[in-house]
Symmetry: C2
Subunit: 318 residues, 2 copies
């Protein structure tokens, strides 16, 4: 499965990369970076360093520094000022430098060149929206698009940056609107409703401190992130959003899916909120929108061991 | 418990009135009507007729015919053109005529005259908002306000008239905003998250057809309403929103509550959506708003027999 990974590393992005590296089903053909958890300069440097740490050899393309409109909002309180919990300086020297082609153009080219390219996007959707503007046929060229983003209010939580909105979508609601309105062959949206169902207790992550060199660094990267979630939820547990969002590519059956068009609220109190018309109530503003598959639940008993196994072996041959 | 009931009968409003009549804990001191399930002329006539049917002697005050701004949206597809599933003409002759005082003024007077008045509002919140505009001290004068309205996305459903909005709040979002921003001594919001957890199968309602005269008429009133829900949910069951919303006054423990300020989205895709900042994420637009108690779940095993018992004896001495 040829995979393009659009990412803003980011603590959980690092865990997602380790998951990709450990899954022999994936062939990582390209990485694009975007602002989000940190500035795009930082997320690009982190992507290059994480590839060196994990022995990944895919080209890295730098993407958007800000949303399609408005200003960017970063998350140093969650991911640290360096995007990796203060551990970015511990990454090994990079093996290759960033590519010169901008991320959106690189994605368009990759989609034209390759059969059955799968795209996973775990940051703000700015690069994907820009690629779509460059090539309106992109959705037909790509085998699937899997997005980490949004919150649909299941299980009691509707947002994490505002009461209505999840961070990735809130960071560029217009990009998300454009992406969700396109006719992808397969569009999966994995939001907080699914990712937050998998809370891995800190104690279960201790084994990482005694595993591969990459796992040991990941263990240190995780600690301030877990501290944030402890303050936020009162539970010292890891919520590995971006890693969880990759799993549907391999194991869609570990999630519960709901089908229907998805729109994004722009402006006002609910700015950046995702909404799915799964009951087909919507009327004119929903007419003609394509269906998306929204993950409304996830099975922790399947996902926790799958992730832990990958992270423990991070950087070793898969 | 002195009760003021603000209502738009309405099939489930009729069930709520039967519940009130059968609960000796309630002393119904006044009824105010509002547009919503049908026009205010219709809901007022129905309120008078239902009081005659059930032997209730409270004064009935006619309220708002339209929201604070904009036009009203009625629900003949759910409640029938007459608001009572085509059975309104079967109600007995009314015992008393509607009062001359407008509903909002009557509520303000009642709150000034009585100690410990409890208000339950199960239609659009226009009358309550108008009363609040007439007397900003109303929230301190009233012992509690219980609202049937809103949807907070728990259990997978966010709205019933749009993907984001529940009908009562969607019918007058500005009124709801004003009401939810006031400092009530106790504000309970019972929305779809709670009311829709209690689905009473049609078969369990058959006993109404062989009970008191009022119960027999209620049974006929219910049938088209259940037909609507069967088409809507695929389940031939009764969702008695307005009756369920009264139960917290007597049995708050039959519900799960979440505390935090509540706001209403005005305009755009999410127009009429309710949102609660129970995580205290909100920032400036949420600062200083008072807390509300939102019912996020309800126990059908407690609520179903409680309601059935009341409806079976409707009109008989409690």
């Amino acid at each position: 499965m040829k995979l393009w990974f659009d990412t803003d590393p980011g603590v959980d992005d690092a865990l997602a990369l380790a998951f990709i590296q450990q899954c022999p089903q994936f062939e990582l053909v390209g990485l694009s970076t975007v602002f989000g958890n940190a500035s795009v300069a930082t997320t690009t440097a982190n992507a290059l360093g994480l590839c060196a740490l994990l022995g990944l050899d895919a080209p890295v393309f730098a993407g958007a520094a800000a949303p399609l409109v408005g200003a960017s909002r970063l998350a140093p309180e969650v991911h640290g000022g360096d995007g990796l919990g203060g551990q970015a300086a511990q990454l090994p020297a990079v093996r290759r430098s960033v590519e010169t082609l901008p991320a959106a153009e690189a994605l368009v080219q990759a989609a034209r060149q390759r059969e059955a390219l799968h795209v996973a996007a775990v940051g703000p959707l700015t690069n994907i929206a820009q690629a779509l503007r460059l090539d309106l046929a992109l959705p037909e060229r790509i085998a699937s698009l899997t997005v980490m983003g949004g919150a649909f209010g299941l299980h009691g939580q509707s947002g994490n940056v505002t009461p209505c909105a999840e961070a990735n979508i809130h960071n560029d609601p217009l990009a998300a609107s454009e992406v969700f309105a396109a006719r992808w062959r397969c569009l999966r949206i994995v939001g907080l409703d699914a990712t937050q169902r998998v809370r891995i207790p800190r104690a279960r992550l201790e084994a990482l401190a005694h595993a591969t060199p990459a796992a040991r660094l990941l263990h240190r990267v995780l600690q301030p992130y877990i501290d944030f979630y402890r303050r936020y939820y009162g539970v010292a547990a890891l919520v590995a959003h971006d890693a969880i969002a990759l799993v549907p590519l391999l194991h869609p059956e570990a999630f519960t899916w709901r089908t229907g068009p998805v729109r994004v609220v722009e402006g006002g109190l609910a700015h950046g909120q995702t909404t799915q018309d799964w009951q087909r109530l919507g009327g004119p503003v929903w007419a003609g929108l394509p269906d998306a598959n929204v993950a409304v639940d996830a099975d922790p008993d399947t996902l926790t061991p799958l992730c832990l196994q990958a992270w423990l072996n991070a950087g070793a041959p898969p």
